[in-house]
Symmetry: C2
Subunit: 423 residues, 2 copies
């Protein structure tokens, strides 16, 4: 039988995209996933790839392997270059594709707020390539410092500035400090422990501001104990090679600048002829569709969805729930039943700081220390996709916990190819 | 106490270099290892990284972690740019380094015998980056083929030509064929099994010519059963994009060309003012030293060392034994005792063809099939460095054996950045 099935195109294989696809598989609709990468990336653990704790492969799962058992779901690796909303077509680098429903789940990119100096110098963490480059740069800085004769440059090589006191900045700063204090200190005996510094800068008066006050204080104390210099109410104004400039006029000599102080919607949003909310996000109502095109859904970081008077945050739980919800709305429309309205279920927030130290806040409960750390570990293993990946990640974590060893200390860039920025 | 210790510089952290360093550690000599990478690479398993069977990290071991317990051994990551044999100095991109003894263990590079066309089109397997690029290219070819409208280009995308019937060519061809038949066939249901081809070309009348006739025949039969088209007495004359030309005039439309038909000494050899043997290798006697400079040792693939009238082959066992021997000669010279003379102990040769199929030849015994395959597995696990690496490799192998799954199917290059060659 060759009845033409309706086709749903889902752009993006992040948390939102794969939840939408899973919600539609076997429904009688043709589902086509598009992405420029051929894997689903577990972004929350990218910082561990950047700090030599995990290999790239353990936090990525090939899409084609994932969807093998998903009926009527297929995948195409391509670059989306435009949309024809009237003609219901997605334009890609390998041709145009017609759809009946479109789910936009393109995620977000780093927001440098137009500061070219910072954008040209800073590392960020949105892709596997970013993590790879950052790890290479950290390890190269130590290798270079060993034979550096100029004392000023040696100081800069061993100074790491992290901008942004959200979960990513805190987790990266903590993991980097542990890498330096426990692993690299063994590997580079000629570098004094006090010489290498991690400085965490945050513009707000505190870090992890989405968390209760008590957990913020715990996180600052714990990071400080671990050797991270936490400086709140501090803004970065500009950067140039080996230099980070603060709004106060202060200059920090630092070779490595990591930026986690902002995200904005994927450039895909700019291809749509509709008004934008803060961060270039696309406003959607409680069916997660565009006002003028109720066959077009926007979910995850790209969506600007108000709830209780404020926009939902750009984070994984929102993306997962919205992806799943878009599938439900499509199925309801096909069935001709009442369309369900989206309501975010807040399951809480957590961040890990270091070995046996994390903070978690959920349903009015605030936990810090070992219990929160264990909860963080188990939850991340649970959400990681693929049994083999879980085993490899557990193995790496156990190794690190017991032996204080990180084994992914490879510099995979070649000498001279020491790029500071994305290619 | 600050008595000036004599310094041994070892260039290269491959099989020969690390054996030399280990043989000298704790001897009272200062040992400095130099390499442009910061890890020891287990080259014999590179083909499994290229065919999505293993992650990069599992076959590389960071040098600094390796030498932590090795007394008086240190490491510097740098590029060697020249030698001053008279002044006993190594010139590097981060300054000059004086030595009392020099051990050259720079290994080998691929030999295209001056054929620019082939060199510009072919992939090879000498570094982690090579394996990464080859895996990306194989997977990209399948992704492209799915949406390719031009039937001629589709055929080329799905045709993989392997040149060289030595162990590397045989192992790569076998692993690639299994990847295509058992894994990619599931992931790309729109590609017919017969469409994707692996063609193994060998100029000699047979493959694995260092092995006994019976094992050669077994290997050819086994490869053929696995779907590899084995063509002996066939020479490649040239290549251009999507085309491989044979000496017979025949043209094969193939997007991917893998070259394992020759190696030559590392370009480091050209920096030495001495005569060269075949493949640019440096002739040494049974103390493994240069005739004019008995403080300079050449070991491994760079050395042209005659035994029983023919030069020793460029392979890992020779490199390991020579590296170890150079250390013994240095210690004997320091102790003023008789210098030991190098004699290669041939422990046999082996090659794996596919699942439960390998050939091994040692001490007059020739084994093929399951027993040889198991021996190959255990021996490679034994020589792999690092307990964690052994576990990860075993895990991957078990996974593949039981579930016919390879999980390292990531395309890490970005769209459009589909390089055919080394950067």
């Amino acid at each position: 039988m060759t009845t033409a099935r309706k086709r749903v195109i889902i752009v993006g294989t992040g948390f939102a995209g794969i939840r939408a696809a899973r919600g539609l598989c076997g429904s009688g609709l043709d589902v086509l996933l598009l992405d420029r990468t051929n894997y689903h990336l577990f972004q929350p653990l990218l910082y561990q790839v950047a700090t030599a704790g995990l290999e790239e492969e353990s936090i990525a799962y090939p899409i084609r392997a994932m969807i093998r058992g998903w009926k009527n779901v297929s995948f195409r690796r391509c670059e989306v270059t435009g949309f024809d909303l009237t003609g219901r077509r997605v334009v890609t680098d390998s041709g145009e594709l017609a759809y009946d429903y479109l789910v936009l789940a393109g995620g977000s990119v780093t927001n440098y707020f137009g500061n070219e100096g910072i954008a040209s110098q800073a590392f960020d963490l949105k892709s596997l390539g970013d993590a790879d480059r950052l790890r290479n740069s950290i390890l190269c800085a130590f290798e270079e410092a060993v034979s550096e004769q100029d004392p000023v440059r040696r100081v800069a090589l061993l100074t790491f500035v992290v901008v942004g006191g959200g979960p990513t900045g805190v987790e990266f700063a903590g993991a980097l400090s542990e890498l330096m204090r426990h692993v690299l200190s063994e590997d580079y005996p000629s570098i004094n422990g006090d010489e290498s510094r991690v400085i965490l800068l945050e513009a707000a008066p505190s870090i992890l501001t989405a968390m209760p006050q008590r957990l913020q204080t715990y996180a600052i104390r714990k990071l400080t104990d671990m050797g991270v210099e936490v400086r709140c109410s501090t803004m970065v104004s500009d950067a140039s090679p080996n230099v980070v400039r603060l709004a106060s006029g202060e200059v920090i000599a630092a070779h490595t600048l990591f930026w986690s102080a902002g995200v904005k919607a994927s450039p895909l949003a700019d291809m749509l002829p509709c008004p934008k909310g803060a961060g270039g996000r696309i406003p959607v109502g409680s069916t997660l569709t565009l006002e003028e095109h109720d066959e077009v859904f926007v979910v995850g970081d790209m969506a600007y969805c108000m709830e209780k008077g404020s926009p939902l945050p750009m984070m994984a739980p929102v993306a997962m729930q919205q992806g799943h919800h878009a599938a439900r709305v499509i199925l309801a429309r096909e069935a001709g039943t009442t369309l369900p309205l989206f309501k975010f279920t807040d399951k809480g927030a957590m961040a890990t700081i270091g070995r046996s130290a994390a903070v978690a806040s959920a349903h009015g409960f605030n936990v810090s220390g070992y219990a929160a750390w264990l909860a963080w570990l188990l939850l991340h293993l649970y959400y990681l996709i693929g049994f083999r990946n879980r085993i490899v990640v557990m193995l790496n974590w156990a190794w690190y916990y017991w032996f204080h060893e990180r084994q992914v200390l490879l510099i995979t860039s070649t000498i001279g190819q020491h790029a500071r920025k994305r290619e």
